[in-house]
């Protein structure tokens, strides 16, 4: 029983570390906060669930996730990748991001296309249920 639990935990850990998207373009100051550490970001940087993407006052970043959804963020933004599950064969999954501050442009991908409301975006004051496809979010502090 203990072994089973350990295996399950290990599997969970592996899943969490899996690549969910790639940073495609970066300008200015862009960092990723992962497990309390700040990592520098360059094009090709692979993102995992629970990462937070942070741009500085001149920072901009573009990301494509493995379900083909696309995000970009402008200066002074914080985007948290709270939950990402995706089955590339069936396109089932769920995808929750949090925009804490700044400006974000989103084009939804296969997760939202397959299941209505499987893609959600949370802001400090609201929840967005995504039925497709392209939209903009600004969160002022």
């Amino acid at each position: 029983m203990k072994t089973l639990l350990l295996v399950a935990l290990l599997l969970l850990a592996c899943q969490a570390a899996a690549e969910i998207g790639t940073v495609k373009n970066v300008s200015g100051e862009v960092q990723v906060e992962r497990e309390g550490r700040m990592l520098p970001v360059e094009p090709g940087f692979e993102l995992s669930q629970d990462d937070a993407v942070i741009t500085g006052k001149d920072g901009r970043v573009g990301i494509i996730f493995i379900d083909n959804s696309r995000f970009s963020a402008g200066p002074n933004s914080r985007l948290e990748l709270a939950r990402f599950r995706f089955n590339p064969t069936t396109h089932e999954g769920d995808f929750v991001t949090r925009v804490r501050r700044g400006t974000v442009a989103v084009v939804s991908g296969q997760i939202a296309k397959h299941t209505e409301d499987a893609m959600k975006i949370e802001t400090p004051q609201s929840n967005l249920g995504v039925r497709g496809t392209k939209f903009l979010i600004q969160v002022q502090e």
């Binding site: 373009n25 094009p43 573009g62 442009a105 084009v107 400090p124 609201s126 249920g129 969160v139």
Partner: protein, 197 residues
């Protein structure tokens, strides 16, 4: 004096509790001109956005109102962010000669286009999926489809794409483009699909 202090305190409280628009959400048409939908829910209401440039503004108490900003103002707020959007992922389809990993001659120019697309993108990654028609055994087709995918992978790596950025899988005859009976030679099913993003 005490009354004055109360008035000041009340004024300060009013400033801080006056609803302020903290969040703006705008629905846009997608790259094909299609407009989707977005449900915006706050503690004090909800709005379904389903028209191009329709907006919701959310206050710091979670009240949701429809927004009335003009296009120029929206552009001003989001121009830099929109400019950072990565290009849309693109799919290429390459066709193969019966039972081989030899490209059909009509697919040679597509291979060049594919390479150009890969090279034009920043940090591109490529997902290659090989397929076969239904001639031959299932296991043989699994192997052949993977060989077809790897042929394209080898080509791209030979042209300078980083090994870790390109993945190849074979789906055999499990995902026919044109549904057929077993043992049917169908050129459109002998293909490799390449997703570039």
């Amino acid at each position: 004096m005490e009354g004055f202090a109360i008035i000041i305190t009340t004024l300060i409280a009013m400033v801080f509790t006056t609803p302020q628009e903290k969040e703006l959400i705008v629905l846009l048409p997608d790259d094909n001109g299609k407009v989707g939908a977005l449900l915006v829910q706050g503690a004090g209401g909800q709005i379904l956005l389903d028209e191009a440039l329709e907006q919701a503004q959310v206050g710091n108490g979670g009240e949701v109102r429809s927004g009335k900003l003009d296009e120029a103002r929206i552009d001003e707020i989001f121009a830099e962010t929109l400019a950072a959007q990565p290009p849309k992922p693109v799919t290429f389809v390459l066709y193969f000669q019966h039972g081989t990993t030899q490209l059909e001659s009509t697919s040679e120019p597509v291979l060049e286009k594919l390479f150009k697309e890969v090279a034009s993108r920043s940090a591109s990654d490529v997902q290659i999926t090989g397929h076969t028609d239904t001639v031959g055994a299932l296991e043989d087709n699994d192997r052949l489809s993977l060989q077809r995918a790897e042929e394209i992978r080898t080509f791209l790596i030979g042209r300078g794409l980083a090994v870790k950025r390109v993945r190849a899988v074979g789906r055999g005859e499990r995902e026919l483009l044109v549904p057929t009976e077993d043992k049917v030679s169908e050129p459109r099913n002998r293909r490799v699909e390449v997703l570039v993003r």
